[in-house]
Subunit: 315 residues, 2 copies
């Protein structure tokens, strides 16, 4: 029997780090289904932040310590775009822009975003496949005291400061899982939900019509599923997930995240600092897997990935 | 009476140098109508080589010694586009690309190319106005022994090596002078045809339906017109104009150029090395103005511009 394949669901930084660890162990047996609801058009170019964060991590060229971009990238284009009056708060490096330029050209020429992304992955020598959740555009909007904001306006320009009162996924009803994502899930021997924001990173993936049913069908065929908590000690390791959980009526703890995923996974991975929550996670019907989940270096990425794979029964 | 305005017609390098000298003397009284028939789409972005060469010259940031780009520009984007398999023979610098990105975004959002170009000129503090000959796309094609080639394929990729057997201007019948170019010509106190390739730089401007009539009407109202030879001593100072004149049945000399412009101008400016051709130029019914036309530095640009303005009677 062929070695089992694994599908990971991921948003930005946390999911990208775990995917990188999984790739180190699985190589081409890994497919990563990424959120596209924070994709946007900047300067007329299609930008896919979550795909690209995963891409650069899996290619080993990510900018350390930040959630976007390429290590050592320069900013000549952005500086000059500012001269032409273009807004510069969404900073894109020069080498990063090359991806947006090439992919936008391919999509305008008729390629699906997935096809353009797969071509870029091959160019960068990535072993795994990074699959947009959908090719049709989906856009997260965030309601705040000031009204509805486009996601990057909230996330980058406002630095996630406004309290989030409501989420909306424009276009989600017309979206379908891409053929590639659907096929990967249908063939998956295990499913891993990465430590990404459950509401605005993993949430949109799960909201694509048909996605939950497809994941459930995979589990029905014997695939085990695990989720890794993005909340450690009541705080998001990166980003606004903790405050967003609270303002949207969820408990801003690993347990709150476990509740969101209770019907989707068999195993819930908790950080050691949250070990005391394990009985309550188990009371939800989940196996609690307690380990150090902070992925501060490459070795930690691989170690956490190995623990998760052990949890879902993949060698 | 207001000081007269001047319209210059220009292609790339030679026309840009003269326009720079004219701008030094005329400031905002200068409008430059530029060829758009070698505009092209590269990596999904609208590139306007002649407009941009004039723009960078008038902004004082042109790359010295080359016919394109910004002085000291870097090439991070282009190098990375090569990684993604994009052709890299049409090299675009990073700061140069910012213009193509911003302008393409504006045009896709509904602006006319002229409007996007004028915005860029204002951003770079250019005193004159640089006006595309037409907003509708026009594309020069070049027939060679290998068949028809797109202009930049011939000009940049093949380095103008193939002999040109025929020219074609796709889209020219549907083009009209832009409102801005038309208004500038209608108000012009003088017209200057720059030392650009008469066949593929000035030729397309003159081929825009209505353009010749409009120039003739301006002369009918008293505007004097001059042309500066791009051929000096039987050689083009830059580019393939000499070989192209010969292969398309014209005499590859200043006199051959004078014949092409005989019904368009009052004054023909010859380089001192071609002084012996002056009687033959005058036999065409033109005034021959003999001077040193080589614009090797900024002072020479201003000096030649001053000579030309004297020739057309503009102080």
């Amino acid at each position: 029997m062929a070695a089992p394949t694994v599908v990971a669901l991921a948003g930005g930084v946390g999911g990208a780090k775990l995917a990188d660890g999984l790739q180190a162990l699985l190589g081409g047996r890994l497919s990563v289904v990424v959120n596209t609801a924070d994709d946007c058009t900047r300067h007329g170019l299609l930008v896919m932040p979550d795909h690209d964060t995963v891409l650069y991590n899996l290619a080993g060229i990510e900018q350390p310590g930040l959630g976007w971009g390429i290590e050592g990238d320069t900013h000549a284009v952005m500086d000059q775009l500012g001269v032409y009056g273009e807004p510069t708060w969404f900073s894109l490096g020069d080498r990063d822009l090359a991806l947006h330029i090439a992919r936008t050209a391919a999509v305008r020429a008729g390629a699906r975003p997935t096809e353009a992304c797969l071509a870029a992955q091959r160019s960068l020598g990535v072993a795994a496949r990074i699959l947009p959740m959908a090719d049709a555009p989906v856009a997260t909007a965030v309601r705040t005291a000031e009204g509805w904001l486009e996601f990057q306006e909230y996330f980058v320009h406002r630095r996630q400061a406004p309290e989030v009162l409501e989420l909306r996924l424009d276009g989600i009803d017309a979206a379908t899982p891409t053929p590639e994502a659907a096929a990967a899930i249908d063939a998956a021997g295990a499913i891993v939900i990465g430590p990404s924001n459950p509401l605005v990173s993993i949430g949109p993936i799960l909201a694509v019509p048909g996605m939950r049913d497809r994941l459930a069908a995979a589990r029905g065929r014997g695939a085990r599923a695990a989720a890794v908590s993005p909340i450690v000690g009541g705080r998001a390791l990166k980003g606004p997930a903790d405050r967003m959980l609270a303002s949207l009526g969820h408990e801003p703890t690993a347990l709150g995240v476990a509740r969101l995923y209770a019907d989707l996974v068999d195993v819930f991975v908790l950080d050691a600092v949250d070990a005391a929550l394990a009985p309550e996670v188990e009371a939800l019907g989940l196996e609690a897997l307690v380990t150090d989940t902070v992925m501060a270096d490459d070795a930690a990425r691989v170690r956490v990935a190995a623990e998760v794979l052990r949890g879902v029964g993949v060698a």
